[in-house]
Subunit: 337 residues, 2 copies
């Protein structure tokens, strides 16, 4: 695979899997202590990854769950936040200012905090009650964070007595590094073809639903816009039909992300439309991957992770074909604003 | 004002104001009966309008509130929905298929439903427990719906003992038709200038936060994309700094919507950035309007309504300068999909 450091990748994803014990201990402790709602808090790619788990929990559990943008959350006085809340925050660098502020705000209110970060000793890791540390760089951050959020979510559901299959799921997740490696390998050719075909494209629509909507939002904003400086529109598959469809013509690139949850009919509908009205449809569908060792009912859980892992190959090939480094920024952490 | 039927407008907004008594009766009855959470459900522009009130309620009330896209909601088995839920649905035509399905789903679960619609006898109006009917066409629909949602929200908060100023607010809202007329009049020149300057623009970023984010999402999708076939990116002011900013250059049109809630510093920050890095910034700020007769603390409540009403003037001038009817569709209700 192009620009792929297998050893580094395996280290990152194994690192995430190895947090299982620590995650179980944290969740069991906070459950013992008791909490009556759950917040996911982050900025940009971090909150985007969390949308999948907000969706999953809403569709499975009676535990009220909220996903909030860190900077807004710190200002808005969200009245559901209390000392009886459990808050999961995430920042790869552990220094994202808005997320660090949000963590401080949660502490002040007295909520219990779990924080995902790429390094120990960072402001976020130091602030939260339960730091989860797994080193990753931008390329594999989504894989790392999604694995941790999956363990967190599934354990939380289990402790709420709403996911009796936890043990089976957590065991199957131990095989996820080699499963994701296969996902990447079997995406490689498609990723290269996509990058070749669309290297000069100036605009992409990225569409998803349910647990894959966050990926659509994030791939558009954090990769195509931030890392490749290409204009995008991310849009929910259901909302696509309430406005955005009108800008589609036969030359409109649509990237459709299909997962395997209850909302799949919504992405089917976009696919049917797009096949008719544009020549530039690209579908990334978790159903195309074997995911050997993952039971059918669990495929819904890992859809967002699988899509994230597959799309990372697209990013690498875009960088290559467009000769535009994924690391170059004009503004972010470059200029003051 | 260009293409403005004052009589029709006054009829629409007065019609919404006159629903006050009916709204109070409905809210008082459902409060008497009891409910433990609130759902806003709609598609496209309808759910977009509701995001403002989801935000307001979250920032004021301990009542758990959720805003969900109708089509996804009907599929996902949202576990917070129960016979103890209050659900507010909205569809101007009263026929939006996904919203009608969602209303059926809520009835099946046994939740109490309130439905906003432009006509009596429509499927939505027939299905819900409390239909609210006020005739409007696309041009003034946002004004009509926002006024109704304001009465609903403020009365709900009042009955939760979380908005003691309800009577003063509701009284001041009776003056809203003439206030909004002045908003439109004082936007007219700016709207025409915007349309002249940007008539050939092929892409706009639309940015908002807090109670104005829904307007940014909706103006981008339901007007610029749906009615003018112009590409857009709607983005939350806080999220703007986590990716989207990188596509900004001096020729990027940014439309910034500023309201007067707690999140205003987030839009200030975008403004400061945009003033430096693009020559094409347009700001619509509720603070620029006098809103005579509305007390300071209530300005936050009506920010989304004021922005919606002002932007309607922009749409009319875009239609004129671009010679592109606001009513023409390529696909929506034109072809089968």
């Amino acid at each position: 695979m192009l620009n792929f450091d297998k050893q580094k990748y395996i280290q990152v994803v194994n690192g995430a899997v190895q947090l299982r014990g620590q995650i179980e201990k944290a969740v069991d402790e906070v459950t013992e202590r008791g909490f009556n709602n759950l917040f996911f808090i982050g900025s940009g790619g971090a909150i985007a990854s969390m949308y999948a788990y907000e969706y999953l929990i809403s569709s499975i559990s009676t535990l009220p769950v909220y996903a909030e943008i860190a900077a807004e959350f710190s200002l808005m006085n969200h009245k559901q936040l209390s000392k009886h809340s459990l808050v999961i925050l995430s920042s790869l660098s552990g220094t994202t200012q808005e997320t660090v502020e949000a963590a401080k705000y949660c502490k002040k209110i007295g909520a219990v905090t779990i924080g995902l970060s790429g390094e120990a000793g960072t402001p976020l890791a130091e602030l939260v009650d339960y730091p989860l540390i797994n080193y990753a760089e931008n390329d594999f951050a989504a894989d790392s964070v999604n694995i941790q959020l999956l363990y967190l979510t599934s354990r939380l559901l289990y402790k709420q007595n709403e996911f009796p299959d936890y043990e089976a799921f957590a065991e199957q997740m131990e095989r996820i590094p080699s499963i994701l490696l296969k996902v990447k390998e079997s995406t490689e050719k498609k990723a290269e073809q996509f990058a070749s075909k669309y290297k000069d494209e100036t605009y992409h629509m990225v569409v998803g639903s349910g647990s894959s909507f966050g990926r659509a939002y994030s791939y558009a904003m954090c990769v195509l816009e931030e890392m490749q400086w290409i204009r995008t529109k991310s849009i929910h598959a259901a909302e696509f039909f309430h406005g955005t469809l009108e800008v589609v013509d036969e030359d409109t690139s649509i990237i459709l992300l299909k997962g395997e949850d209850e909302t799949r009919p919504l992405t089917d509908r976009v696919q049917k439309f797009a096949e008719k009205y544009t020549r530039k449809l690209t579908v990334f569908d978790t159903a195309d991957y074997e995911l050997e060792g993952i039971s059918g009912p669990f495929r819904k859980f890992i859809s967002a992770l699988v899509i994230a892992s597959a799309l990372q190959r697209v990013s690498v090939h875009l960088e290559d074909k467009r000769k535009h480094s994924l690391d170059t920024r004009k503004y972010y952490r470059v200029v003051e604003y």
